[in-house]
C-alpha cells in the first residue's frame, strides 16, 4: 500500500521529533562555527566518544539504562494526560530505599535480594509519585507544581540521611555499600567500565510498558482518561483511580531508574546519582513520542550524545552544548505547530468514502 507508506513517513509522530533533532544539531553546529570550532570535528569526536571503542559503547549503554526508565516514566505519564516533572525525586526515593534494603541483604542469596531490591525501588518511586497523584485527584493540585516540590523534598531527605543516620565514613557524603548479593552481575568489563545486567531490566521494562499500554485493560483505561476524561467517565472508567495508578506506575519506573544506578554502577547511594535524568526523561519521552519503543531509541540517542560529549569537550567544544541541543529539541517539539508550518505540510483528513 503506497498510501500507507506515505502516511507512515508523513506521520507527525516521526516527522516532528526527527525534524527537531536535526534542527537542533544544525543550530549547535552554527554555534560551533561562530566560536571558531569545526562542527564536523566536534561531531566526529562525539560519535567516537559514543561508539568508537568498546569502553565507549559500554559507557553509552550504562548511561542509556536509567534514561530508558525515566523516559518511560515521563512518557507513561503523558499517555495518561499527566506531566510528571518529578521523575528526579521519585528516582531519589527509589534509590534511597533500595540502597537501605540492599545493605540488609548480606545473608540473602542473589535470587532473593535482586528481586527484593527491584521491588523496593519501584515501591519507593511509586509511593512518592502517588502523593502527587492523590493531591491532583482529591485536592485538584496541578501535578507539575507538586512534583517539582516533591523533587526538592526528596533531595533534602536524601541529603539529610546520607549526612547522618545513613552515612558511610569518609569523604563525600554517601551511604554505606549494598551487599554483594544485591548487585547486578557485570556482563562485560572493559578497563574501568562495565556493563551491568541492568540493561536487561530496562529493556524488559520497555516490553512490559508496551504490553501494559497496548494490551491490557489498565493501559486502555489510562489512555482513555488521558485522551478524553469525559468519554472515559461515560464508558464507566474511574478517572481518579486511573490517575493515581498512572502516576504510581510512572513513579515506579523512575524509582527503578535510581535502583539501576545503585545495583549496577555505584553500589551505594550518592547525591549525584540521579544527575539530570528526570529532565532528560522529558526530552526522551518527547522525542520518542511517548511510545515505549520510540523511547528506547530516544534514550539511546540522548545517552550517545551525553556519552560522546566528553570526547567532544576534549576536542574543544564544551559539553554544555549538549544541554543546549536538548533544550532546542524540547522547544521545537513544544511548538510542533511551528514545525508543521515551517514544513509547509498539511495533513489531509481521511475523507468520507
Amino acid at each position: 500500500m503506497a498510501n500507507g507508506l506515505k502516511k507512515f513517513y508523513m506521520n507527525d509522530k516521526i516527522v516532528v521529533p526527527v525534524f527537531a533533532v536535526i534542527t537542533s544539531l544544525f543550530i549547535a553546529a552554527i554555534v560551533m562555527i561562530m566560536i571558531g570550532k569545526n562542527p564536523i570535528v566536534a561531531y566526529g569526536a562525539l560519535l567516537f566518544g559514543a561508539f568508537g571503542t568498546k569502553g565507549a559503547l559500554i559507557n553509552n549503554l550504562m548511561k542509556a539504562t536509567p534514561l530508558i526508565l525515566t523516559g518511560l516514566s515521563v512518557g507513561l505519564g503523558f499517555r495518561a494526560g499527566l506531566f510528571n516533572i518529578g521523575a528526579n525525586g521519585q528516582l531519589i526515593i527509589g534509590a534511597l530505599l533500595s540502597t537501605y534494603i540492599g545493605t540488609k541483604m548480606i545473608a540473602y542469596p542473589f535470587y532473593l535480594s535482586i528481586p527484593i531490591m527491584l521491588i523496593t525501588g519501584m515501591v519507593g518511586g511509586a509511593l512518592w509519585a502517588a502523593i502527587a497523584g492523590w493531591l491532583k485527584v482529591a485536592r485538584g493540585a496541578h501535578e507539575v507544581i507538586t512534583t517539582i516540590m516533591l523533587n526538592y523534598v526528596a533531595v533534602f531527605i536524601a541529603n539529610y540521611v546520607v549526612n547522618g543516620p545513613f552515612q558511610a565514613p569518609g569523604g563525600v557524603p554517601k551511604s554505606p555499600e549494598i551487599a554483594y548479593s544485591a548487585r547486578f552481575p557485570n556482563l562485560i568489563t572493559s578497563g574501568a567500565t562495565w556493563l551491568s545486567a541492568g540493561i536487561f531490566v530496562a529493556l524488559t521494562a520497555v516490553v512490559v510498558v508496551y504490553i501494559l499500554i497496548e494490551k491490557t485493560k489498565m493501559g486502555y483505561e489510562v489512555k482513555a482518561v488521558g485522551f478524553n476524561p469525559y468519554a472515559a467517565e461515560y464508558g464507566g472508567i474511574s478517572i481518579g483511580r486511573n490517575t493515581v495508578m498512572a502516576m504510581a506506575i510512572s513513579g515506579a519506573l523512575a524509582g527503578l531508574a535510581g535502583t539501576m544506578q545503585v545495583m549496577g554502577l555505584y553500589y551505594r547511594y550518592l547525591g549525584a546519582l540521579g544527575g539530570s535524568m528526570g529532565f532528560d526523561g522529558i526530552t526522551i519521552a518527547l522525542i520518542g513520542q511517548n511510545d515505549p519503543i520510540g523511547i528506547a531509541f530516544a534514550a539511546f540517542l540522548i545517552s550517545s550524545i551525553r556519552a560522546g560529549s566528553n570526547q567532544m569537550q576534549i576536542a574543544g567544544v564544551s559539553k554544555n552544548i549538549v544541554i543546549i541541543i536538548q533544550g532546542i529539541i524540547i522547544f521545537l517539539v513544544a511548538t510542533n505547530r511551528l514545525v508543521k508550518t515551517f514544513m509547509f505540510w498539511k495533513r489531509k483528513e481521511v475523507e468520507e468514502a
Binding site: 469525559y230 461515560y234 483528513e349
Partner: protein, 519 residues
C-alpha cells in the same frame, strides 16, 4: 443599484435584505429579510437551528454574510466585525455571557473603553457613568461587586449596561430569558420597557411565545433558515405563531409497526437535578418507559434535557428523587454499574462523551465494555477478538471507510455516530437513552439511524429519545413528553396531537390548559 430604485428605509432602525449565509452542509440563512422599526421591540422566533442566532451574529459582525445587505437607519453599511457594529450603535447580549468572572461590575462594563487619567484607570469616572446609566434605565447594579458573586439575572443586567455604555441604540438580546427565573424574567421585561420608552430599538430572540405576546411589538418567524411569517403582535396569537414556527407536515416518515409494549423498565420519580452552576435544571420530573416502546422527549434546548439524561445514565448527581431501573433503585449507581445492568446510552455530544477521538475505531467499539470477558481476559485485552468484533460492526453498520485502525477523529460526523450506535446496540441493552442521535447528520445517515432505533424497539428494547428536532420526535416516538423548564408539560401520542399543540407546550403551555381552552 440605481437611484430610482432606491428604497426608503428611513423609518427602520434595522433592515436586513436577502441575507444568505451558508455553512458546510447547511443553508443557515436563505434570503432572509428583516425589518425592525425604530423604537420597537421586535421578536425573532423559531425552533433551534432556524437560523435566528446566525442572522444576529451577522448583524453584530461576528460572522460575515455570503450575500445580502444591511441598512441602519436607512443607510446601507458594511459590518465586518463587532467594532463596526459598535460604531453603528449596535450592541449584543450573547446567550452565553461574555463577562470576566473575577472582575468587578465596573471593570467588566468599561473594559476596552476605560475612562483614564493618563495611564491610570479612572475608576471614579467609570463608576459615575455607570450610576447614571443605571438610574436612567432602572438597571440597578452594585458597581464594585465581583461578577462571580452575582446571580445570573444581575449578570445579565451588567451585560445590558455594557452594551448601553458603548452607546448602543439597537440592542440584540439572544435568548435572554433562557437562564432566568420567572421573577428575573419579569424584571428583565421591566428593563426592556424602560429602554424602549427611552427610544432604544430592541431585537429579542426567543422561542417562548408567551414572552413574545407579553412585550413585543412585532414578530419575525423563522424556520429552517427562512422567514415564514412577519406579523404585528397585536394581530396574532400563540397558536398562529406556533403553526408558523413548527406547523408543517413531517417530512421524514419512518416505516414502523405497532409497538409491542412490555413491562416497565425505567421509572424516574420526582427527580431534581442541578446544572453546572448549581441552579435547578430538572424540577420534580416523573416519567416511565416500558420495554418495546420509544418515549420521545420534545423541547427546546436548555430546558433540562441534558441534565435529565446525565442523571439517568449516572454522569450527574441527583439532588432529590429516584431513578428505578428494572425494579432496582439505581439513583446512586456508577455509570459502569448501570451499563452492566443493561442500560445503553447514545450521548448528545459525540465528541465529548461518545468517542475518544484519539483512539482507533477498534478501541472505540469497546468503550464501556472493555472489561467484559468477551474482550478482556483478566488484565489482558483480547486484541484479536476485539478486532474481529470491530470488523463485524464496521460491516454490519456500514461504517466508511471500513478500516478499524483509523482514529475516531478521522471519520465524518455521520460515521462517528454510526460507531457509537453500533457499539451501544452491540452491547445488547434492554434500555437505551438516545440523545440527539442525528444532530448535524445528512439525510442518509439520519434514515439509517432512525431505522436502527425502530428495530431496537421491535426487539423489545425500551428507548428514551431526547431530541430538539420535532420531526424526529414525531416520526419515531410511541409517546411524546414535552419538557419545559425542567418539567413535563404534558404527554401525548403522535396520532392524537399536532405539531402546533406540541409547539405550544414547548413554549411553556400546559397540556391541560390547552385542552380546556379548546373545550
Amino acid at each position: 443599484m440605481d437611484k430610482a430604485n432606491k428604497k426608503d428605509y428611513s423609518k427602520y432602525a434595522v433592515v436586513m435584505e436577502k441575507i444568505v449565509k451558508r455553512f458546510p452542509g447547511v443553508l443557515a440563512n436563505d434570503h432572509v429579510d428583516l425589518f425592525v422599526e425604530r423604537g420597537e421591540i421586535h421578536a425573532i422566533v423559531g425552533e433551534n437551528g432556524a437560523g435566528k442566532t446566525t442572522l444576529m451574529n451577522q448583524l453584530y459582525g461576528l460572522i460575515n454574510s455570503d450575500s445580502g445587505k444591511i441598512y441602519i437607519n436607512g443607510a446601507e453599511i458594511k459590518i465586518r466585525n463587532p467594532n463596526d457594529a459598535i460604531n453603528a450603535k449596535i450592541g449584543m447580549v450573547h446567550q452565553h455571557f461574555m463577562l470576566v468572572d473575577r472582575l468587578s461590575v465596573v471593570e467588566n462594563i468599561v473594559l476596552g473603553m476605560e475612562p483614564v487619567y493618563g495611564p491610570f484607570f479612572a475608576r471614579d469616572k467609570a463608576r459615575k457613568q455607570i450610576n447614571e446609566l443605571s438610574k436612567r434605565f432602572g438597571l440597578f447594579v452594585e458597581p464594585d461587586a465581583i461578577i462571580e458573586d452575582l446571580p445570573v439575572g444581575i449578570q445579565q443586567r451588567v451585560e445590558i449596561i455594557k452594551v448601553l455604555y458603548r452607546g448602543a441604540e439597537i440592542l440584540i438580546l439572544d435568548e435572554p430569558t433562557a437562564v432566568l427565573t420567572p421573577q428575573e424574567t419579569e424584571e428583565l421585561f421591566e428593563i426592556l420597557r424602560a429602554l424602549k420608552s427611552q427610544g432604544k430599538t430592541i431585537i429579542f430572540i426567543t422561542h417562548k411565545l408567551h414572552e413574545v405576546m407579553a412585550i413585543t411589538n412585532s414578530v419575525t418567524v423563522m424556520r429552517l433558515g427562512k422567514v415564514t411569517g412577519v406579523v404585528k403582535t397585536v394581530d396574532t396569537n400563540p397558536r398562529e405563531l406556533a403553526r408558523m414556527m413548527v406547523g408543517r407536515d413531517v417530512l421524514l416518515r419512518v416505516e414502523k409497526g405497532e409497538a409491542k409494549v412490555g413491562k416497565e423498565i425505567l421509572r424516574v420519580e420526582d427527580l431534581h437535578v442541578n446544572e453546572n452552576r448549581g441552579l435547578e435544571a430538572v424540577r420534580g420530573l416523573t416519567l416511565s418507559v416500558k420495554r418495546g416502546e420509544i418515549v420521545g422527549i420534545a423541547g427546546v434546548a436548555g430546558n433540562g434535557q441534558t441534565e435529565l439524561v446525565e442523571a439517568i445514565t449516572g454522569l450527574r448527581k441527583v439532588e432529590e428523587g429516584h431513578v428505578i431501573f428494572k425494579g432496582v433503585d439505581i439513583t446512586n449507581f456508577s455509570p459502569k454499574k448501570r451499563r452492566d445492568m443493561g442500560m445503553g446510552h447514545i450521548p448528545e455530544d459525540r465528541l465529548k462523551h461518545g468517542l475518544v477521538t484519539a483512539f482507533p475505531l477498534y478501541y472505540n467499539f469497546i468503550l464501556g465494555k472493555h472489561d467484559d470477558p468477551q474482550f478482556c481476559d483478566g488484565e489482558f485485552l483480547k486484541m484479536p477478538d476485539i478486532k474481529r468484533f470491530s470488523d463485524e460492526l464496521v460491516k454490519r453498520f456500514d461504517v466508511r471507510p471500513p478500516l478499524i485502525n483509523l482514529l475516531g477523529a478521522n471519520l465524518s460526523g455521520g460515521n462517528q455516530q454510526k460507531v457509537i450506535v453500533a457499539r451501544e446496540i452491540s452491547f445488547g441493552p434492554d434500555f437505551m437513552v438516545v440523545s440527539q442521535p442525528t444532530r448535524g447528520l445528512d439525510i442518509g445517515a439520519i434514515e439509517f439511524i432512525h431505522k436502527t432505533i425502530i428495530s431496537m424497539r421491535d426487539k423489545g428494547v425500551g428507548v428514551l429519545l431526547i431530541s430538539m428536532e420535532l420531526e424526529e420526535i414525531f416520526s419515531l416516538s410511541d409517546r411524546i413528553l414535552v419538557m419545559y423548564e425542567g418539567q413535563i408539560m404534558g404527554e401525548v401520542t403522535p396520532q392524537e396531537t399536532t405539531t402546533e399543540e406540541v409547539g405550544l407546550m414547548m413554549a411553556g403551555h400546559r397540556l391541560e390548559d390547552l385542552r380546556t381552552q379548546e373545550a
